[in-house]
Amino acid sequence: MKVEVSDVRVQFGGVMPLDGVTVTFPGGTCGLIGPNGAGKTTFFNVLSGYVTPVSGSVLCDGVELLSMPDYKRARWGVRRTFQTEQAIEGLTVFDNVLTVYEHTAKASRAKKKAVVEEALEFCGLSAVGQQLVRTLPAKERRFIEVARAVVGEPKMVLLDEPAAGLPEEETNELSAIIRAIPERSDATVILVDHDMALVQACCEWSAVLDFGRLLASGPTGDVLRDPKVLSAYLGEDELL
């Protein structure tokens, strides 16, 4: 599913975190990169409805996302993870994932159980389903976030630095899960991360933001070698 973003502007007082972003995500797993402060998280906040842009439009499947109230976007199919862990501490892993599913879809009790268990299995969490989140280590908590984002039938999955703080081995595990999302549910995945190896492994296509503007977009390999992108990252010779 294509996500057509045109001329999105966000203003916080005198600051313009997004200054007329126009970009079309072609579907599949797409990367969204850029230096700190480029506007990546603000862009996610616009998509999920926490930030109202002063102008612009986001069309998905012919639906104007920006005219929907925030929680209804989740029901329509926008899911996201956050930079800080948001899994609900006092609930079990199963209930965490169930909470998202029961508020975004109508289903019988048996179907709910089956769908949630499938999402847990997809993220390798079946064994800890009945444990309370607060008893689990960082890796599982991260993966619960992903399970919450993919349960049921999401149309758009926004992953905000899902691998931040994870060691390499666990990042690889996460990478395999992320790559499997589009064929599992036909959702468009947008991945924000500073780990360029992860972005390149997961995304065929990427867009680069800098100072609230689109700097480059295209196949991930080309984008990461683009001199404009390299200089935005403070003159680094190469990003990989």
Binding site: Y50, D70, A74, R80, Q86, I88, D95, T99, H103
Partner: protein
Amino acid sequence: MGAIFKHKAFEPGAIAVLVAFALFVAPAIFGAFWITNLTQMAVFAVVAASAGMLYGRVGLVSLGQVAPYGIGCWVTMRLAYATSLPFPVLLLIGGLVAAVIGVLIGLPALRVSGLYLALVTLMLAAAIETALGVLKFPNGGGGFKGVVTSLSDLAPMRRPGFAESDPAYFRFSVIIALLLFLLAYAFLAGKPGRAWASIRQSEPSAIAAGIAITQYKLIAFALAAFMAGVAGGLFAGSVRQSIGIDQFSRQAALFLIAVALMGGVHSLWGAVLAAFFSKVMLDLLTTYMVGGQFWNDFSLSLFGFGLMMNLIQSTKAMEKKGLLG
């Protein structure tokens, strides 16, 4: 301590023992004074559970839970004088009126949170206190607005026919309180409970999960107000006449949240403990300990101290834990 009480196998057994003791043993071994006391403990446990639920489960700091409590008490009492409806129906109406008002309270409260919500709801408690005073709450004359000036003309409020005596009314109160706890449990263990846990932890994350935050906060206010309203009706039937408005005052509002926090707001057991502290322990001290009335003032200081400790703990540990979790 909390861990023991939360142990799954322990819970149904503990409830069964507690309820069996209250229904069969307590009426046989305690005199009228303690039975009245225990009735009020059952009533207060429900009110503490409603306040604790809003704070501990949904994250709404409401100091105004005495308002639906007072409204439920008032509505039930006036209807008892003015109509001949069966007593359980009166309780239900009292609870429903309180729930409607709880939602009306909730609507503006949704615009604010944290300390500001506490302030708004405390003002509300003050407003109810004033309103009840002006209305000569609840008095005992006939009809809806009946007010008698001479204390000797005050008619006691009627009780259900099957629970006329104090021990029978105590049993009745325990059963109603148990039903209200089960109602709360059904909400907490289901879809609303999960939505509340999500809202309490992070509203942006709850929105991302598709939870209609406004709707679920209002459900919480309505449920808490319903519980407190029914408890208010039970309280009216327990005291029967010349109920003072001090039960529903600003001081009572602060006292309520203090004991609810001390008991623990994450488990319904905490509410039972809070009710024990405030209704039974105090009288145990003033009746049997040397010092008499001193304990009354001392315990107020103690609860204040408990509240402070709790708040200090909670800023340290994020989780606001009382004695029973």
